[in-house]
Structures are given as structure tokens and as C-alpha cells.
Symmetry: D3
Amino acid sequence: MTETATPLRADGRADDELRPIRIERGWIDQAEGSALISFGNTRVLCVASLTEGVPRWRKDSGLGWVSAEYSMLPRATSTRSARESVKGKRSGRTHEISRLIGRSLRAIVDMSALGENTILLDCDVLQADGGTRTASITGAYVALADAVRWGQANGLIRPDTPTRRVLTDSISAISVGLVGSRTLLDLPYEEDSRADTDMNVVQTGSGAFVEVQGTAEGTPFDRRQLDSLLELATRGNAELARIQREALEA
Amino acid sequence: MTETATPLRADGRADDELRPIRIERGWIDQAEGSALISFGNTRVLCVASLTEGVPRWRKDSGLGWVSAEYSMLPRATSTRSARESVKGKRSGRTHEISRLIGRSLRAIVDMSALGENTILLDCDVLQADGGTRTASITGAYVALADAVRWGQANGLIRPDTPTRRVLTDSISAISVGLVGSRTLLDLPYEEDSRADTDMNVVQTGSGAFVEVQGTAEGTPFDRRQLDSLLELATRGNAELARIQREALEA
Amino acid sequence: MTETATPLRADGRADDELRPIRIERGWIDQAEGSALISFGNTRVLCVASLTEGVPRWRKDSGLGWVSAEYSMLPRATSTRSARESVKGKRSGRTHEISRLIGRSLRAIVDMSALGENTILLDCDVLQADGGTRTASITGAYVALADAVRWGQANGLIRPDTPTRRVLTDSISAISVGLVGSRTLLDLPYEEDSRADTDMNVVQTGSGAFVEVQGTAEGTPFDRRQLDSLLELATRGNAELARIQREALEA
Amino acid sequence: MTETATPLRADGRADDELRPIRIERGWIDQAEGSALISFGNTRVLCVASLTEGVPRWRKDSGLGWVSAEYSMLPRATSTRSARESVKGKRSGRTHEISRLIGRSLRAIVDMSALGENTILLDCDVLQADGGTRTASITGAYVALADAVRWGQANGLIRPDTPTRRVLTDSISAISVGLVGSRTLLDLPYEEDSRADTDMNVVQTGSGAFVEVQGTAEGTPFDRRQLDSLLELATRGNAELARIQREALEA
Amino acid sequence: MTETATPLRADGRADDELRPIRIERGWIDQAEGSALISFGNTRVLCVASLTEGVPRWRKDSGLGWVSAEYSMLPRATSTRSARESVKGKRSGRTHEISRLIGRSLRAIVDMSALGENTILLDCDVLQADGGTRTASITGAYVALADAVRWGQANGLIRPDTPTRRVLTDSISAISVGLVGSRTLLDLPYEEDSRADTDMNVVQTGSGAFVEVQGTAEGTPFDRRQLDSLLELATRGNAELARIQREALEA
Amino acid sequence: MTETATPLRADGRADDELRPIRIERGWIDQAEGSALISFGNTRVLCVASLTEGVPRWRKDSGLGWVSAEYSMLPRATSTRSARESVKGKRSGRTHEISRLIGRSLRAIVDMSALGENTILLDCDVLQADGGTRTASITGAYVALADAVRWGQANGLIRPDTPTRRVLTDSISAISVGLVGSRTLLDLPYEEDSRADTDMNVVQTGSGAFVEVQGTAEGTPFDRRQLDSLLELATRGNAELARIQREALEA
């Protein structure tokens, strides 16, 4: 799709091409759902824990709850960073991404069909090379879908509720960015650190937006650039939705 | 601007109308810059502290640094919440908004013209009724501008550097949202809690985007809705830029 | 009242003269009681939150509870100090003053007339220039009185209980100090830092003592000096009681 | 001294009589100064650590520094309380008493004669029966005096500086209280919990006041009662000064 | 027992000789059991708190619970260390020793004969000169035994349950080490810091092993050395069991 | 080796048989050394970070430093446990195992040949089924060996220093236990929870002991049982040393 004249990216990809995406389901034997997902060198272990009951503030509402915790192993990055458990507190970044993942997943869950069950998604980044939050959301959806199936098979979720009623759609996320004059899809760390604008877009399998977060790290961006970013992200998320579907059918 | 048929909002505003905006500069005598800003009943005290020197990781770079801390008084909301100093940690929300304010302000600061000085913006919400982060950014800009002037008057910033070179533009933020079938500007708490989609848009005085954060709390939104939200926000930010300019010229 | 020969203080006051005292009630719309109080440049926002029920250890006693939390905004002082929520713990000074305020207010509350309700006073120092604890106690009383009235109007406190039975007296506090050979009333920061002895005196409207805290920062003081400090404080508190009464009748 | 008609206190003491006071010096072999002090059943281990150098903010001032940390073993009281190290934070009470002890000791230290040395007093309550803060101050003075002597013997403090120049006086503290119609000296826990007013008075060996902290726990007190409390405390502290002197001469 | 040719240790002991052991029972009046134990200069205050009921996870099991908390006063060592309550967290070492003491004591408690009661042992090191964990275990047993007797006398433990059924044996601990070519018993700090291998052995009064923890700090040790360490420890623990018995019979 | 009459274990192993051991080197691209190790279903990611320089207390000693941090992902176990970063502190168990791993590795490192470099081993348990500490030590050695080679190849460690001089031996660990009347090697969770005695033995490749930690969870053990446990562990560690050697030669 890229023009002949445009030089390729460092990893040989076209501007609108995803990194190789790999999803391995069932990586953790004891969990109700799990997926090891890779976006190129970024590798995230997504594990879903389904338990009966809901947090106190939601008791007797008939509604379920879904939330997420994101974390990075200390040596996921090129230089080691201190463990948050050792520092005794989580960073603002960790909090922020955890909240984003939870919010994104809740957008496609029918809490009433889930019933008074809680699903907690742990997204632990084993290796980081840009796009850890987008890989987390995309992989967490797969783990979540497996946990819902487990809940149906084990009687926590009413078995006559079709999965499609609990998860009303799929959900995935991708990053896009403006690097120099180019609009790039799925930025690895090196491109991300050079980007003027970095945008994460969370979309359902049917293409609706759940979250749009665009930040100008350098020069502010104009409306035309914003439009081109949104279009590229929409194409990327459509591709991710297809890969998720194939993984869940495997 | 609204059509005759559309009923007014609870506070009598048109859909595309800001709440009454008030900015009082110099509210804190001892600070290098300060502004008490109101967006309707939302009231935020923004205080800028300018000090010589920069954090260790930026030493000897010739560049300055700007960051922000956001917090809410315990009884800013309708029911009292526990102090974060008593709980011993800041919430994810507090972290996330602090980071957003800092990032937004840095987008219009020329760090080299600022020189090796640090400006820290404290945004303390005295009363909250929706839009505390947008009021914080908008008020923090005014406090920041006063701190830069103070720095020039007191020799920390080279006096021959025009303010326009240190602050390359103004910055403001506004919320927009989809409530039912309507697209509303500057949502108070009551509207915000009913919104399907809530979006915060940070823009420079010249209209460029610095941050776009849209979240579907209910039904995901489509591209057309996204476009209408962006247009409304752009109009709101233009109005805020005008109010900031007037406040700074007063 | 001061003799002609004595030079005036830096702000032109006589030795036994209070700074200008201002009390604005109802500064926070959503709170059950609130007052913004100024002792000269010291400005404290006092907010009372009244809720039904009492802490666990007091359940089913028929008695209410009153406590307080004191805090300072980071830039209340001439150089910014770190937020306690960021440091992850409250300082000893913050704890100590919170306890003092709560103890002082409880001295004039009839817990049985209050019934099983809790009133929590938040005293947040917006600007500090000496006397933040005395201004906090004095302002907190006004917020407390408004919260009691609110409780009566809203049926949490039995309406046939006269306010006078819930609050058996008023309460205020003032600082006095020995600076060189002079005995001064209501010390601003500059005088406080030069004082040999600094004393905070909490008294009821009828003049009884609730708390006397005198500390020799420099030379220890003798009994005669102690007596003159107590007399001056008694006159100051009488004046504060009058100002509180006027504010509550306004 | 008490009149015949007045019934004795639970432990058989007269109203103006101290509990048995015991001071054992040198209880900790490795410390520069130490004293195990008992006020009746209240037993506090006071240990002085003298080190060369001062905190950063006092460097190159030529002045020394003295501070204190107070703590209670978990089973010092009749029911066990949780360790502050386990809870992860010190209580307000712990902070407040630590600050009081440090302030009291500093009142009799000539920081310039001490030179750039730091003496830290650890006061650990092994058994508590009222008056732990007054026993701590009284015992800490003895440990402090021994640490100063050690410093002179070991060349950290100039040997030609007489001890009297480093410690300009002795310091002790005692509690007094109003229990019903009686004014009592040195209250054990049982009396303290019944007292209307509780006052701690810190005085130098020559009788000057360093700290006066009186609190009405029940009925506020009047000026005449305050005077009688101060007189009783002065007699108690004179007796403690004598006991300290004897212990240090032993 | 040592051969003539072997030089004595710094404190004049033979290689297989314990330091002077002293146990004072009932040091804390208000506790259900307490013992101040010395292993030479190492002095630990062991206090047992017996309360009715068990932690939530053990409720309605008919079984009791025993645990321990170990801590060191800041100036127990030759240079002062910071309080863990001030640092806001307990060190790994503190945790580890607390767990070891609790585990060791539980080995000789019949939880069913104890009934639904909890005994918490506080071991606070007042002075440290090596072997603080072994002294803690040895002293904690004595405090525990007294608490069990108290429980029987006060009806919390069924009085017809002989103490021997609640405490099925006694328990003690001793350190042994390889220092150069010698195998030494009960190492003070100075020997411990020079040891190639340091081993702590917890044994019952009848000689069975409850815990064996051997660590090569320098050269790893072979099987023959391990055997000699175990034999020496067994002799030391037999001696400690005799001393405990005598203390409890006193 | 087991007699015909003995029934096999739940997973079909003989009493003296290890679970299947798998070691995958280089699992983390950016680290100086890494190994994903499995002991049956227990899976630990061991990552070595080599950096120039040593902690402050070891500066200018010419010696290097090696330490370790152990942690468990929240859903490594059959029910999810809370993250230590969320709780704000590490558990005693986490601390204790981290210290054990560091100590074990240091036993075979020549700190002077390592030079002033630091190697930090992160052992993160991805899935737990007993033996997480023994798998961590065994895998960490492999990651450590790769990091040393990397250091030599990249000039941080003198290239003319043979690896054998930096790592003076290999190191591994295995668990053994008494379950009923049987002595078992390498206990999975289910056996471990039933064991009367559980022992972890750390040994060098040449068979010397570095750490012996035996704990009676139920009945205390006698000397003969202790001997049989040590012999079984020695055979297990010899087998692990062979597997490590093969992995490092691959």
C-alpha cells in the first residue's frame, strides 16, 4: 500500500503495517483464561481470574465487574527499573494504563449477562518495545473471552447466555503516530521516542471508538493530521480484530 | 447559536455555551504566579512556584522544566473523601491528571528560553462540579504566565527574552460530551455522569491540538460523533483563550 | 492601649492588637458548614462535614463524635514544600495540630445532644503567615456551628434540641509570645520566628481555658512572664469570641 | 503535707507526692549514654547516641543538634497494640511526644559548645502506667548528660569546655491534674483517665518553664486552677532535679 | 572439655561452652507471660500476649494460634540504626526472624488443646551481641509457658488440660559456626562476623530437630563439618532446655 | 532406584526422581543473561542485569556485587493473590527468598574477579507448583553465567579472566521432604503441603553445601531422617548441575 518512493521503516515494515502479532492461549494452566501476546518484541502475559461475587459497592446489583492491573517486569526494558513493590508504590503511568485497560474491556461487557462475578485481568509486560498498553488490551480481550467460556462451562455464568451476550463485541487497541512527515502504524519504542504525536486508539470489532488518546509530545497537531491518524488506527484495529477471532477459533 | 426547539440545560445554558468563567490573578501573595479559576461551581486554585535549577536528570542541559501536581480538598465533592496524605498514597486518578496538566503546559514552553529554571504548578480543587482537569489546565496557564514574567523581572529568566519566546502560545482545555442525542460543551458533574462519551481536548491559542482524550463510558461512538465533538471543543477553547488573554492584560 | 513610647510592630499594630480578622461563611456550597477565615495574611478554609453515624468504637453509645484534619497547601508558605500525599505520610506537625483542633472543638460539644452523628472539620491552610492553628480553631468553630444548624434543619439532630445545648459555648484560639522584652498578641510568621516564647491559648467564649501550650524556643520563661502571656491571650480570645458571634449572626 | 481529712490515693500517696522514682545509668553497654528510668510502674529506656557531624541543613554552622524519638513496645500497655513498623507509620501521638522531648532537651543545650555533633535520644517505653512522656524527658536528660561526658572524654567535644557550658541547666518534666476537686501530682494511668484537666510541665533545674501543656479533657479550667497546677508542678520538678543530680553524682 | 592446646575464645570460653544464660520471668507486670533473657551481652525482652479468639482465617476450627514479632531497639547495636516505624517498613531480616520464631514455637504447641486462643510473642532486642534469634526463641518459650499457665488459671484454656498437653515439649535454639578450623558454640557478634559457616539449630527438649538453617558465608562446608555442627548444637540445646526447666520451676 | 513395592507419586515419579527440568536461555532479548526454567509446572523467568559500578557502601573496594529479587505474578498460584506493589509492601516470604537467592549465588562468585560490577538477578515466578525458590536459584545461575560471559565479551569484566575464575563453581538447589514414611525429592505443591518436614538444600556443582534449611511443619525430625534427606538432596543437586552444564554448553 505504501508508495515505492517511501523508504521502509527500520524493521522493514510499510508505514501502515502491523508488527508480527502472535497470540498463545492457555499459557497459564491454573487461570480461567490467559494469553501470551506479542506485538513484535513487545510481549505481554494477560491472565484472567474469574471469581464469584463482586466488590462491596456493587453487591446485590445483579451486575458483574471487570477490572485490570498492568505491570512491567523490572527488566522488560533495556535498562532495569526498580520494582514498584520495592519502592512501595505504583507509578502514575502504571495506574493510568491499568485504568485504561479496565475501562476498555468494560465497554464490551454486558455486566448484567455476566452476573455477579468479577473478572480481573493481569497484564504483565515481560518484554517492552513500544505499544505495551495496546498489546495488553488486545491480549486481555482474548483472556477475557476464555474466562467467560470457562464461567459458562463451570456454571458461574448462566450457560444459556450466549457468549455474544456477555461480550457484546471484541475490543482491540493500536498506536499510531506522526514521525516527521509520516503517519505510522504500531510504533516500536524507537519510533515512539521520535514521534511528534503519539495516539492510542481503542476500537470494537465493529469499528466504533471506545477510547482515543492523542498526545503531542513535540509540535501540536492539526485537524487534518488527526483525521489521518484516526483512519490508520481504524485499519490497524480491523486487522487485530481478525487475528483475535482466529486465535479464539483455533 | 442553538436552535429554538432544543430545551435548555439544567443551568439554562445553550449546548455550545461555556459556564461562567472567572479568573482571579495573584490570589496567593507569596507565589511567583497564581490564579483562582472558576468554571461555574468548579473552583481551582492554581499556584506556580518558580525556582532556580532543574531536576538532577536535566542538569547542565541548558533546558528548564515544568511539571504539575493536581489534588482535591477532601470536601470539594458532595460527600467527603479521605485525604490522600492520610491514606498514604495518591490515587491513580490524581496521578493521571497531574501528568496531563504537566504535559499540556510543556507543549507551549520553550525549555531553552526558560533556561535552567523549574516551574511547578499546584492545582488544588477547592470545589468540584465537573471539569476540574480542564479548569486546572486553563488556570495553570495564567499562573505560569505570571511566573514567567516574575522570572524575567527578577533576573532568573533573561530579561531580553520576550515572554512570547518562553511561552510560544497559550494553552487551555475544555470538556465536551455526548449526552443522549446532544453534543454538549463544558459538562458539569451532573451531565458528565450521564454522558455516553466524555472528551477532554487541550488546544493552543492558535487552535492546534495538544491532547485529545475521548472515552466512551456507555455506547462507543462513531467517527461522525467524534468529529462533532472536536468541532465543539475547538470553539470552546477559542473562547477560553480569549478569556485568558483578557485576564493577563488586566 | 499601648503607651506612646513603645514603637509599633512591623504591620503598625499595637502589642495587644489582633491582626484584621475576616470570616466568610458558606464558602463551599456543598458542605454542611464552611468558613474562610483570615488572621491578616493567614488564610484557612474550614469545612465541616456532618454525617450520620459514628466510628465503630463509639457505636450504640448514643454519643456523637467530632474530629479534625489540618493540612497546608504546598505553596501556602514562602517556599514550596512537598505534598504529604506525595511523600506518603503526614508530618508530626500536621498530626499534632489536627489533634489539637479536634480536642479543642470537642471541649464545647455535648456529644449526647449531638446524637450519633459525626462532624469532621477540614482545615486547609491556603496561605500561611503565622497562627495557622489558632485561625483554624477559630474558623472551625464557625463552620461547626453552621453544620449543627444544618443538622437540626435536616433532622439529623433533634430539632427541639437548642443549638446552645449541642454547642455549650463558643471556642477560639490565639497566639501570644515574648519577643525581646515585649509581650505580643497574634504573632505573624516574622515575629513568631524571633520569639523567645510562643504560646497558644484555646479558650471558651466565657473565658475558661481548654488548652494552654507554651514553649520556650529560646530562653525559658518565668512565672511572671507566663502570667502576662495568659492575660494578653484572654483579652485576644474575648475579642475573637465577639467576632465569631457577629459572623454567626450575620 | 496533705491535710488529715483527705483520703489517700489508690497507691497510698499524698496528693503532692511523686511515685517512687528510680534511675539506673549505663543500662546499655554500647551507647554513649543510657538510663532506665521508672516513675512507679512506668519504665522507659532512654539511650543517647552521640555521633560526629550534624544533619545537612545545619552543616558548617558550628552548631550541634539534639533530637529524640519516642516509642512504645507493643505490650507496654495492658492490652497489646500493633507495632508502628507493622502498620507502616507512626501515630500522631508518637510524633507529638518525640517532638516534645527533643524540644525540651534542646532548651538546655548550648549548641555552640556542643559543636558539630548530633545527640539522638531514643526513649522506648517498656511498661506504661501514665506519665511516659514526663519520665522520658527526665530520663533522657540523664542519658544526655552521660553522652556529653563521653564526648568530652573521647575528644568529640572540646575537653576544656566544662559540662556546665554544654548543658546550661538540667531539665525534667512532671504531670499534674485536676481530678474531681483535687489537684494531683504525677498521675498514673488510672488517675489520668479520670482527670478533668491534665497538664505536663517541663522545667529547668533552676525552675524556669520550658514547656507548659495543659488540656481540659472534661470541664474547662479557670485561672485559679491553672495557678494551683503550676505551683504543684514546680514543686514536683524541683524534686526530680534533685534525683537527677544524685543519679549523675553516683 | 576443650583440649589444653586450644587457645580460649575472646571471652575465655571453651569452644563448646555457652555464654552465661540468664532468664528473669515476669519482667512486664501486665503481660500474661514475659521473660528477659540474656545470652552474654545479648538481651531480649520476650512478652507473651494471650487473647481469646483467633485470626479470621482460623475461626470456628477449634484450634488456637501462636505467632511472633521480632524487633530491635535502634541502639541495640554498636551504631544506631533507623527505626523501622520511621522508615515505614520492616526489613527482610526482621520479617524472616519473626517467621522463624513463630514457626519454632508452633512446633511444640497442640493447637487443639490451646483452643481458640491466640498467643502473640513479642521479642524486642534491647542489646545485641550475636544470637538474637536464638535467644528470642529460647526466651519466648518461657514467656509462652507462663502465658499458658495464666490461660489455665483464668479459664481461657480448659483447666483440666495439663500444661504438658498444650505444650508438648520445650523448645530452644542455639547458633554454631565454623571459624577457621574450629567448631564453636553460641557465637557472639565478633565471632559470627568472622565465621565461614553459621548455623542456627532449633530443637525440642527431647532433642528432635524443628529447624536447621546453615549458611556458608565464606567457603561452602562439607558433610563432615555439617555433622560436627549438628552434634555441637544438640549439646547446646540440651543445656538450654535444662536452664529453661529450672527457670520455670523457680 | 525405588523398590517395586513402593507406589508411585501422583505424577508417576519415583521417590528420588526430579520433575522434568527445562531451561531456555536468552528468553529476554535485551538482558545480559536470562533463562526460563521449569521444574514441572513451576516456571520461573530468571533475568540477569549487569551494570558497571557497585552500591555506594562497596565503592572503591575493587569488588563486585551480586543480589537477587524474587517475586510472583499475582495469578501464578491457583487463586490470585494481591500484587505487592498494590499493597505497598513486600511480604516477609518474598524478602526471605530474595535474600536466600542472592546469598546462594554470591557463594560461587569471586567478587574480585567480577570487578566493580553489579549483577542483579530478577526471578519472577510465572507459574507456581512448589519449589519456586529452588527453581529460582537453579535458573538464576544459568542467567548469571550468561551475564558474566556478556561482561567479558563487552569489556566490563577483564576478558583475560577465565569465566571459571569469576564463577568458581556452579550452584543449584532442590527440595526434599518427609511425607508420611517416605523421603521424597523435588516436591510439587500438593506434596509440600502434606510434608512433615520440608528441606531446601543449596549445593555447589562439586557437592559442597552452601545453605541447608530444614523445617518441621508437623512432627519434628530426628538425626537419621535428617541424614537421609541430605543424601537425597545431594543426588538431586548433582543431577541439576549436569542439566545446567548441558544448557550452558548448548
